[in-house]
């Protein structure tokens, strides 16, 4: 696969999508999955440690796109489950709404920057009170003892209590460990030799597991144990084992995902 795709650094999945759609003026269906994977791997290489949350978000969107794309390629539309179809449209609309929202805040950010730039040319007076008036100001140290000072310092330096309950309202918990998935794949793939991504994830219980599997595949590619192939732009993603029989996993690299 090609690593020559010149991509700017993307701040997140929306950034990449917005770039692909608005800047490059391409139909997202014409963007091959390998382009997305390439861009993603480039991002991985730029990152010291992988932000699992961001990777998941990225792949969630990639998964929706792949699903949309596959759907479009179905030979006949008679066998399409209407409920599934509606679900897909809903996801598409949701994605569109999120992209528009993201784009809105990008514009708002530019305006904030402009306001800040303009304000930065005018320097505020902060001199405060003259000595003559300072003498009249209440003594803030009145009643402050060395012991109170020590207590205040300890208060600041003491470890903070954890927030009451972790706020996860909008973020689905990650229940599967990518490390487990990588180990599972490393056990299965050498026997299979090659398998489509769909085959590998056919019994995945939920989308998150599919995403974790995708991450796992990317990890194997990164470690030179697997390669990805896509026969045509619209073809299925093929995972090929290229590692030795008893190839051992780079435990450290995998920890990056898990940790």
């Amino acid at each position: 696969m090609s690593y020559q795709v010149a991509t700017p650094v993307f701040e997140g999945p929306f950034d990449l999508l917005l770039h692909l759609i608005t800047k490059e003026q391409v139909d997202i269906y014409e963007v091959s999955i390998s382009t997305i994977v390439d861009a993603y791997i480039l991002e991985l290489e730029r990152m010291q440690s992988l932000d699992l949350e961001m990777a998941t978000e990225f792949l969630l969107i990639a998964a929706i796109l792949v699903e949309l794309k596959t759907r479009r390629l179905l030979p006949g539309r008679d066998d399409v489950d209407l409920d599934e179809e509606f679900g897909l449209w809903e996801e598409r609309d949701l994605l569109l709404a999120r992209l528009l929202e993201c784009q809105t805040f990008k514009q708002a950010a530019r305006e904030l920057e402009r306001l800040g730039d303009r304000a930065s040319h005018s320097y505020p007076r902060r001199a405060g009170l003259d000595e003559a008036f300072l003498a009249l100001a209440p003594d803030l140290l009145a009643g402050i003892t060395a012991e109170k000072l020590r207590a205040a310092c300890v208060r600041v330096l003491a470890p903070k209590p954890p927030p009451p309950i972790v706020d996860t309202e909008h973020i689905a918990p990650i229940r599967i460990s990518v490390q487990e998935v990588v180990e599972g794949l490393a056990a299965r793939l050498p026997r299979l030799g090659r398998a489509t991504f769909r085959e590998l994830t056919v019994d995945a219980p939920d989308r998150l597991t599919v995403i974790a599997s995708f991450l796992g595949v990317l990890e194997l590619v990164k470690q030179g144990l697997a390669d990805l192939e896509q026969a045509t732009n619209f073809g299925e993603l093929l995972v090929i084992w290229i590692g030795d029989e008893g190839a051992s996993l780079d435990a450290l690299a995998v920890e990056d995902y898990a940790g």
Binding site: V26, T104, A108
Partner: protein
């Protein structure tokens, strides 16, 4: 001959190190806040008319003296501590979300941006742009964030109402169409 109130405002604002609120000036001068606003507007105009090197501005809910923006090249040479580092695009976008959606939790910001917001929000907090302003009353009790006085000061705004309406930034029909086409189930 300037009237006493005008002179008193100049004297007090000269000694204040934060924008001083009209109601505080009104209390010190024993006049109505409306009268203070009137006098301050008069003062600001007189500096303008006299082509002074400073301005009296209304910012973050109060009045303060600032150097005239024209003269920034001279002042920049003097200011010892360099201007704070420019904000990254990520920081600006996060700040925009907090400014327009406040009170807002970290998770909500992350959900809008599609990326983890923790590090960026911590930086914004340390740099004085945002602060914790409460807890979500819901079951999660998530910390809620909002913008600070310093945010208004740094952006030269009197209040949050002076932020341009978010509606102005919604992408135009051509962008929405491009996005829609890009995601359309029928492709092209």
């Amino acid at each position: 001959m300037a009237i006493e109130e005008i002179r008193a405002i100049e004297a007090i604002v000269m000694q204040a190190d934060d924008p001083i609120e009209p109601h505080m000036l009104a209390q010190l001068l024993e006049v109505s806040p409306a009268r203070v606003e009137e006098l301050c507007a008069e003062l600001a105009e007189s500096y303008e008319a006299e082509d002074r090197g400073f301005v009296l501005v209304r910012v973050a809910g109060g009045y303060r003296f600032q150097s005239h923006p024209d003269l920034a090249p001279y002042v920049e040479r003097f200011v010892r501590e360099g201007q704070p580092a420019r904000m990254s695009a990520a920081a600006l976008e996060t700040l925009a979300i907090v400014a327009y959606k406040q009170p807002v939790s970290r998770a909500q910001v992350a959900s809008i941006r599609g990326v983890n917001a923790e590090a960026v929000m911590r930086t914004l907090e340390q740099r004085g742009y945002i602060e914790e302003i409460g807890h979500d009353p819901g079951p999660g009790q998530a910390l809620l964030y909002g913008t600070t006085q310093g945010f208004l000061e740094k952006l030269g705004l009197d209040s949050l109402e002076d932020l341009p309406p978010l509606g102005e930034f919604v992408p135009g029909p051509e962008v929405a169409e491009a996005l829609e086409a890009g995601l359309s189930a029928d492709g092209d």
